[in-house]
Subunit: 201 residues, 2 copies
Amino acid sequence: MKTIDFYFDFSSPYGYFAAEQIENLAAKHGATVNWHPILLGVIFKANGAAPAANPVKWDYAINDFNRSARFYGLPYRHPAPFPIATQHAARAFYWAATQDMERAKNLALALYRAYFVAGQDISSQETVLEIADASGWDRTALAAALASDEIKAALKTACETAIARRVYGSPFFLIGDEGFFGADRLPHVEAWLANFDRGGF
Amino acid sequence: MKTIDFYFDFSSPYGYFAAEQIENLAAKHGATVNWHPILLGVIFKANGAAPAANPVKWDYAINDFNRSARFYGLPYRHPAPFPIATQHAARAFYWAATQDMERAKNLALALYRAYFVAGQDISSQETVLEIADASGWDRTALAAALASDEIKAALKTACETAIARRVYGSPFFLIGDEGFFGADRLPHVEAWLANFDRGGF
Protein backbone atom coordinates (compact mmCIF):
# COMPACT_ATOMS: atom_id res chain seq x y z
CA MET A 1 0.00 0.00 0.00
CA LYS A 2 1.73 3.16 -1.23
CA THR A 3 0.75 6.17 0.82
CA ILE A 4 2.07 9.72 0.78
CA ASP A 5 1.47 11.90 3.81
CA PHE A 6 1.35 15.45 2.48
CA TYR A 7 1.91 18.17 5.10
CA PHE A 8 1.35 21.80 4.10
CA ASP A 9 0.43 25.24 5.36
CA PHE A 10 -2.23 27.18 3.44
CA SER A 11 0.08 30.21 3.45
CA SER A 12 2.89 28.36 1.65
CA PRO A 13 3.34 29.07 -2.08
CA TYR A 14 5.33 25.87 -2.56
CA GLY A 15 2.58 24.02 -0.69
CA TYR A 16 0.12 25.38 -3.25
CA PHE A 17 2.36 24.26 -6.15
CA ALA A 18 2.61 20.78 -4.60
CA ALA A 19 -1.13 20.54 -3.88
CA GLU A 20 -1.83 21.13 -7.57
CA GLN A 21 0.44 18.24 -8.57
CA ILE A 22 0.57 15.60 -5.86
CA GLU A 23 -2.62 13.67 -6.70
CA ASN A 24 -1.69 13.19 -10.36
CA LEU A 25 1.83 12.18 -9.42
CA ALA A 26 0.54 9.67 -6.86
CA ALA A 27 -2.08 8.25 -9.22
CA LYS A 28 0.59 7.50 -11.82
CA HIS A 29 2.20 5.17 -9.29
CA GLY A 30 -0.93 3.73 -7.67
CA ALA A 31 -0.34 5.68 -4.47
CA THR A 32 -2.85 7.46 -2.27
CA VAL A 33 -2.31 10.83 -0.62
CA ASN A 34 -3.33 11.84 2.88
CA TRP A 35 -3.56 15.62 3.15
CA HIS A 36 -2.52 17.23 6.45
CA PRO A 37 -2.76 21.02 6.68
CA ILE A 38 -0.61 22.30 9.53
CA LEU A 39 0.48 25.63 10.97
CA LEU A 40 4.11 26.44 10.18
CA GLY A 41 4.26 28.85 13.09
CA VAL A 42 3.65 25.97 15.50
CA ILE A 43 6.27 23.84 13.73
CA PHE A 44 8.90 26.59 13.74
CA LYS A 45 8.28 27.29 17.42
CA ALA A 46 8.73 23.62 18.31
CA ASN A 47 11.98 23.47 16.37
CA GLY A 48 13.27 26.75 17.76
CA ALA A 49 13.71 27.85 14.17
CA ALA A 50 11.95 30.76 12.61
CA PRO A 51 12.56 31.39 8.92
CA ALA A 52 15.52 33.74 8.53
CA ALA A 53 14.48 37.34 7.95
CA ASN A 54 17.14 38.19 5.40
CA PRO A 55 16.22 40.75 2.73
CA VAL A 56 18.45 39.12 0.10
CA LYS A 57 16.77 35.74 0.58
CA TRP A 58 13.35 37.34 0.80
CA ASP A 59 13.69 39.10 -2.55
CA TYR A 60 14.96 35.88 -4.05
CA ALA A 61 11.99 33.98 -2.61
CA ILE A 62 9.40 36.35 -4.07
CA ASN A 63 10.98 35.99 -7.51
CA ASP A 64 11.26 32.23 -7.08
CA PHE A 65 7.56 31.93 -6.15
CA ASN A 66 6.59 33.61 -9.40
CA ARG A 67 9.15 31.79 -11.52
CA SER A 68 8.24 28.42 -10.00
CA ALA A 69 4.58 29.03 -10.86
CA ARG A 70 5.55 29.71 -14.47
CA PHE A 71 7.81 26.65 -14.42
CA TYR A 72 4.92 24.46 -13.25
CA GLY A 73 2.44 26.18 -15.55
CA LEU A 74 0.28 27.33 -12.65
CA PRO A 75 -1.41 30.69 -12.13
CA TYR A 76 0.09 32.76 -9.32
CA ARG A 77 -0.31 36.27 -8.04
CA HIS A 78 1.80 36.92 -4.98
CA PRO A 79 -0.73 37.89 -2.31
CA ALA A 80 -0.76 40.66 0.25
CA PRO A 81 -0.83 40.23 3.16
CA PHE A 82 1.72 37.42 3.13
CA PRO A 83 2.22 35.21 5.05
CA ILE A 84 -1.06 34.88 6.91
CA ALA A 85 -2.57 32.85 9.76
CA THR A 86 -4.26 29.77 8.36
CA GLN A 87 -6.00 28.05 11.26
CA HIS A 88 -9.50 28.67 9.87
CA ALA A 89 -8.59 27.25 6.48
CA ALA A 90 -6.89 24.21 8.05
CA ARG A 91 -9.81 23.55 10.39
CA ALA A 92 -12.27 23.87 7.50
CA PHE A 93 -10.33 21.12 5.74
CA TYR A 94 -10.42 18.82 8.80
CA TRP A 95 -14.16 19.33 9.15
CA ALA A 96 -14.77 18.66 5.45
CA ALA A 97 -12.55 15.56 5.68
CA THR A 98 -14.91 14.07 8.26
CA GLN A 99 -17.61 14.09 5.58
CA ASP A 100 -16.04 13.49 2.16
CA MET A 101 -12.28 13.20 1.69
CA GLU A 102 -12.22 13.82 -2.05
CA ARG A 103 -14.36 16.92 -1.74
CA ALA A 104 -12.24 18.03 1.22
CA LYS A 105 -9.14 17.93 -1.02
CA ASN A 106 -11.02 20.03 -3.57
CA LEU A 107 -11.87 22.49 -0.82
CA ALA A 108 -8.18 22.69 0.05
CA LEU A 109 -7.39 23.49 -3.59
CA ALA A 110 -10.17 26.08 -3.66
CA LEU A 111 -8.68 27.75 -0.56
CA TYR A 112 -5.19 27.74 -2.05
CA ARG A 113 -6.42 29.22 -5.35
CA ALA A 114 -8.46 31.82 -3.50
CA TYR A 115 -5.32 33.03 -1.74
CA PHE A 116 -2.61 32.60 -4.39
CA VAL A 117 -4.61 33.33 -7.53
CA ALA A 118 -7.65 35.42 -6.59
CA GLY A 119 -5.90 37.30 -3.79
CA GLN A 120 -8.54 36.59 -1.14
CA ASP A 121 -7.34 36.83 2.46
CA ILE A 122 -8.12 33.34 3.75
CA SER A 123 -6.93 34.26 7.24
CA SER A 124 -10.48 35.62 7.61
CA GLN A 125 -12.99 33.08 8.87
CA GLU A 126 -15.69 34.86 6.87
CA THR A 127 -13.69 34.38 3.66
CA VAL A 128 -13.14 30.70 4.43
CA LEU A 129 -16.89 30.28 4.99
CA GLU A 130 -17.65 32.01 1.67
CA ILE A 131 -15.24 29.81 -0.25
CA ALA A 132 -16.67 26.67 1.33
CA ASP A 133 -20.19 27.87 0.64
CA ALA A 134 -19.32 28.47 -3.02
CA SER A 135 -17.98 24.90 -3.13
CA GLY A 136 -21.33 23.55 -1.92
CA TRP A 137 -20.54 23.01 1.75
CA ASP A 138 -23.01 23.83 4.52
CA ARG A 139 -21.88 27.22 5.74
CA THR A 140 -23.76 27.08 9.03
CA ALA A 141 -22.44 23.64 9.89
CA LEU A 142 -18.91 24.69 9.02
CA ALA A 143 -19.16 27.86 11.14
CA ALA A 144 -20.19 25.70 14.10
CA ALA A 145 -17.41 23.21 13.41
CA LEU A 146 -14.72 25.92 13.29
CA ALA A 147 -15.61 26.81 16.87
CA SER A 148 -15.77 23.21 18.06
CA ASP A 149 -13.24 21.54 20.34
CA GLU A 150 -13.23 18.49 18.08
CA ILE A 151 -12.03 20.34 14.99
CA LYS A 152 -9.55 22.46 16.94
CA ALA A 153 -8.16 19.23 18.37
CA ALA A 154 -7.84 17.73 14.88
CA LEU A 155 -5.55 20.57 13.78
CA LYS A 156 -3.60 20.47 17.04
CA THR A 157 -3.05 16.72 16.65
CA ALA A 158 -1.94 17.17 13.05
CA CYS A 159 0.69 19.72 14.11
CA GLU A 160 1.90 17.50 16.96
CA THR A 161 2.12 14.51 14.67
CA ALA A 162 4.02 16.56 12.10
CA ILE A 163 6.54 17.66 14.74
CA ALA A 164 6.93 14.08 15.98
CA ARG A 165 7.53 12.93 12.40
CA ARG A 166 10.19 15.65 11.95
CA VAL A 167 8.26 17.71 9.45
CA TYR A 168 9.95 21.12 9.43
CA GLY A 169 8.50 23.07 6.53
CA SER A 170 5.84 23.18 3.83
CA PRO A 171 5.29 21.23 1.72
CA PHE A 172 6.69 18.14 3.38
CA PHE A 173 6.02 14.61 2.15
CA LEU A 174 6.44 11.38 4.06
CA ILE A 175 6.45 7.95 2.51
CA GLY A 176 6.75 5.77 5.57
CA ASP A 177 9.67 7.33 7.44
CA GLU A 178 11.29 8.87 4.36
CA GLY A 179 10.85 12.64 4.37
CA PHE A 180 10.93 14.98 1.39
CA PHE A 181 10.91 18.74 1.87
CA GLY A 182 9.81 21.15 -0.79
CA ALA A 183 7.93 21.15 -4.08
CA ASP A 184 11.35 20.77 -5.70
CA ARG A 185 11.60 17.31 -4.15
CA LEU A 186 8.56 16.02 -6.06
CA PRO A 187 10.92 14.30 -8.55
CA HIS A 188 12.45 12.45 -5.58
CA VAL A 189 8.97 11.49 -4.35
CA GLU A 190 8.17 10.17 -7.80
CA ALA A 191 11.43 8.19 -8.03
CA TRP A 192 10.76 6.77 -4.55
CA LEU A 193 7.32 5.56 -5.62
CA ALA A 194 8.74 4.09 -8.82
CA ASN A 195 11.19 2.07 -6.68
CA PHE A 196 8.76 1.46 -3.85
CA ASP A 197 8.85 -2.33 -4.04
CA ARG A 198 12.57 -2.39 -3.35
CA GLY A 199 12.33 0.14 -0.54
CA GLY A 200 12.90 3.36 -2.46
CA PHE A 201 16.03 4.39 -4.29
CA MET B 1 25.91 35.12 -25.78
CA LYS B 2 24.48 32.77 -23.17
CA THR B 3 26.58 32.75 -20.04
CA ILE B 4 25.97 31.11 -16.68
CA ASP B 5 27.88 32.40 -13.68
CA PHE B 6 28.21 29.43 -11.36
CA TYR B 7 29.00 30.30 -7.73
CA PHE B 8 29.87 27.49 -5.32
CA ASP B 9 31.74 26.59 -2.17
CA PHE B 10 33.98 23.51 -2.25
CA SER B 11 32.38 22.35 1.01
CA SER B 12 28.86 22.31 -0.46
CA PRO B 13 27.38 18.90 -1.41
CA TYR B 14 24.80 20.53 -3.68
CA GLY B 15 27.63 22.54 -5.23
CA TYR B 16 29.35 19.27 -6.03
CA PHE B 17 26.16 17.83 -7.56
CA ALA B 18 25.79 20.96 -9.69
CA ALA B 19 29.45 21.01 -10.75
CA GLU B 20 29.06 17.51 -12.14
CA GLN B 21 26.12 18.58 -14.30
CA ILE B 22 26.36 22.24 -15.24
CA GLU B 23 28.72 21.97 -18.24
CA ASN B 24 26.61 19.32 -19.99
CA LEU B 25 23.44 21.27 -19.30
CA ALA B 26 25.00 24.48 -20.65
CA ALA B 27 26.45 22.77 -23.73
CA LYS B 28 23.00 21.47 -24.69
CA HIS B 29 21.86 25.08 -24.98
CA GLY B 30 25.03 26.60 -26.44
CA ALA B 31 25.84 28.39 -23.18
CA THR B 32 29.19 28.84 -21.49
CA VAL B 33 29.82 28.58 -17.76
CA ASN B 34 32.05 30.79 -15.67
CA TRP B 35 33.04 29.02 -12.45
CA HIS B 36 33.39 31.12 -9.29
CA PRO B 37 34.38 29.30 -6.10
CA ILE B 38 33.50 31.40 -3.07
CA LEU B 39 33.54 31.09 0.71
CA LEU B 40 30.06 30.67 2.15
CA GLY B 41 31.27 31.87 5.54
CA VAL B 42 32.06 35.27 4.01
CA ILE B 43 28.68 35.38 2.26
CA PHE B 44 26.74 34.43 5.39
CA LYS B 45 28.59 37.02 7.44
CA ALA B 46 27.79 39.75 4.92
CA ASN B 47 24.11 38.79 4.93
CA GLY B 48 23.95 38.51 8.72
CA ALA B 49 22.61 35.01 8.15
CA ALA B 50 24.30 31.87 9.34
CA PRO B 51 22.71 28.58 8.39
CA ALA B 52 20.23 27.54 11.06
CA ALA B 53 21.65 24.98 13.49
CA ASN B 54 18.51 22.90 13.90
CA PRO B 55 19.00 19.17 14.55
CA VAL B 56 15.81 18.21 12.70
CA LYS B 57 16.92 20.07 9.58
CA TRP B 58 20.45 18.81 9.93
CA ASP B 59 19.41 15.14 9.99
CA TYR B 60 17.17 15.81 7.02
CA ALA B 61 20.05 17.45 5.16
CA ILE B 62 22.43 14.53 5.67
CA ASN B 63 19.82 12.14 4.32
CA ASP B 64 19.01 14.49 1.46
CA PHE B 65 22.70 14.77 0.46
CA ASN B 66 22.90 11.00 0.08
CA ARG B 67 19.51 10.64 -1.59
CA SER B 68 20.24 13.50 -4.00
CA ALA B 69 23.48 11.81 -5.02
CA ARG B 70 21.56 8.62 -5.78
CA PHE B 71 18.91 10.64 -7.61
CA TYR B 72 21.59 12.24 -9.82
CA GLY B 73 23.49 8.97 -10.19
CA LEU B 74 26.62 10.44 -8.60
CA PRO B 75 28.96 8.81 -6.09
CA TYR B 76 28.84 10.35 -2.61
CA ARG B 77 30.23 9.54 0.78
CA HIS B 78 29.35 12.14 3.35
CA PRO B 79 32.71 13.41 4.57
CA ALA B 80 34.03 14.09 8.03
CA PRO B 81 34.96 16.75 8.97
CA PHE B 82 32.04 18.63 7.41
CA PRO B 83 31.78 21.47 6.59
CA ILE B 84 35.36 22.61 6.12
CA ALA B 85 37.30 25.77 5.22
CA THR B 86 37.89 25.91 1.50
CA GLN B 87 40.10 28.90 0.82
CA HIS B 88 43.05 26.79 -0.38
CA ALA B 89 40.87 24.85 -2.82
CA ALA B 90 39.25 28.04 -4.11
CA ARG B 91 42.58 29.83 -4.52
CA ALA B 92 44.01 26.80 -6.33
CA PHE B 93 41.16 27.11 -8.82
CA TYR B 94 41.79 30.83 -9.39
CA TRP B 95 45.48 30.19 -9.96
CA ALA B 96 44.75 27.33 -12.39
CA ALA B 97 42.21 29.54 -14.17
CA THR B 98 44.95 32.05 -15.01
CA GLN B 99 46.61 29.31 -17.04
CA ASP B 100 43.97 27.05 -18.60
CA MET B 101 40.27 27.48 -17.87
CA GLU B 102 39.15 24.04 -19.02
CA ARG B 103 41.81 22.30 -16.97
CA ALA B 104 40.96 24.58 -14.04
CA LYS B 105 37.35 23.32 -14.15
CA ASN B 106 38.68 19.77 -14.14
CA LEU B 107 40.79 20.62 -11.10
CA ALA B 108 37.64 21.92 -9.39
CA LEU B 109 35.91 18.61 -10.11
CA ALA B 110 38.96 16.69 -8.85
CA LEU B 111 38.84 18.69 -5.60
CA TYR B 112 35.11 18.10 -5.19
CA ARG B 113 35.49 14.35 -5.82
CA ALA B 114 38.45 14.16 -3.45
CA TYR B 115 36.30 15.56 -0.67
CA PHE B 116 32.86 14.08 -1.38
CA VAL B 117 33.86 10.71 -2.80
CA ALA B 118 37.38 9.86 -1.59
CA GLY B 119 36.95 11.54 1.79
CA GLN B 120 40.12 13.64 1.57
CA ASP B 121 40.18 16.74 3.76
CA ILE B 122 40.69 19.49 1.19
CA SER B 123 40.84 22.14 3.90
CA SER B 124 44.49 21.11 4.10
CA GLN B 125 46.80 23.04 1.76
CA GLU B 126 48.98 19.95 1.52
CA THR B 127 46.04 17.88 0.28
CA VAL B 128 45.10 20.53 -2.28
CA LEU B 129 48.69 20.53 -3.54
CA GLU B 130 48.69 16.73 -3.82
CA ILE B 131 45.43 16.70 -5.79
CA ALA B 132 46.70 19.39 -8.15
CA ASP B 133 49.99 17.55 -8.55
CA ALA B 134 48.14 14.34 -9.43
CA SER B 135 46.20 16.36 -12.04
CA GLY B 136 49.45 17.46 -13.66
CA TRP B 137 49.78 20.94 -12.22
CA ASP B 138 53.10 22.37 -11.07
CA ARG B 139 53.03 21.84 -7.33
CA THR B 140 55.80 24.32 -6.54
CA ALA B 141 54.22 27.06 -8.63
CA LEU B 142 50.84 26.42 -7.02
CA ALA B 143 52.31 26.51 -3.50
CA ALA B 144 53.80 29.92 -4.30
CA ALA B 145 50.55 31.13 -5.82
CA LEU B 146 48.50 30.13 -2.77
CA ALA B 147 50.61 32.50 -0.69
CA SER B 148 50.49 35.33 -3.21
CA ASP B 149 48.55 38.54 -2.79
CA GLU B 150 47.28 38.25 -6.34
CA ILE B 151 45.52 34.93 -5.81
CA LYS B 152 44.21 35.90 -2.38
CA ALA B 153 42.76 39.02 -4.01
CA ALA B 154 41.11 36.95 -6.74
CA LEU B 155 39.12 34.97 -4.14
CA LYS B 156 38.31 38.09 -2.16
CA THR B 157 37.00 39.81 -5.27
CA ALA B 158 34.91 36.76 -6.18
CA CYS B 159 33.25 36.81 -2.74
CA GLU B 160 32.63 40.56 -2.93
CA THR B 161 31.16 40.24 -6.41
CA ALA B 162 28.96 37.37 -5.26
CA ILE B 163 27.63 39.47 -2.37
CA ALA B 164 27.01 42.42 -4.67
CA ARG B 165 25.12 40.13 -7.05
CA ARG B 166 22.98 38.83 -4.15
CA VAL B 167 24.37 35.32 -4.16
CA TYR B 168 23.40 33.85 -0.78
CA GLY B 169 24.20 30.15 -0.93
CA SER B 170 25.86 27.35 -2.87
CA PRO B 171 25.35 26.49 -5.63
CA PHE B 172 24.00 29.74 -7.03
CA PHE B 173 23.61 30.42 -10.73
CA LEU B 174 23.23 33.77 -12.44
CA ILE B 175 22.11 34.26 -16.02
CA GLY B 176 22.38 38.01 -16.35
CA ASP B 177 20.54 39.28 -13.28
CA GLU B 178 18.35 36.19 -12.89
CA GLY B 179 19.45 34.18 -9.87
CA PHE B 180 18.85 30.48 -9.24
CA PHE B 181 19.71 28.94 -5.87
CA GLY B 182 20.33 25.24 -5.41
CA ALA B 183 21.07 22.16 -7.49
CA ASP B 184 17.30 21.62 -7.46
CA ARG B 185 16.92 24.76 -9.57
CA LEU B 186 18.93 23.28 -12.47
CA PRO B 187 15.63 22.53 -14.28
CA HIS B 188 14.81 26.25 -14.01
CA VAL B 189 18.26 27.15 -15.34
CA GLU B 190 17.68 24.81 -18.26
CA ALA B 191 14.22 26.23 -18.99
CA TRP B 192 15.66 29.73 -18.81
CA LEU B 193 18.33 28.86 -21.39
CA ALA B 194 15.73 27.20 -23.62
CA ASN B 195 13.76 30.47 -23.56
CA PHE B 196 16.79 32.73 -23.57
CA ASP B 197 15.94 34.55 -26.79
CA ARG B 198 12.70 35.82 -25.35
CA GLY B 199 14.26 36.82 -22.04
CA GLY B 200 13.72 33.64 -20.05
CA PHE B 201 10.42 32.13 -19.05
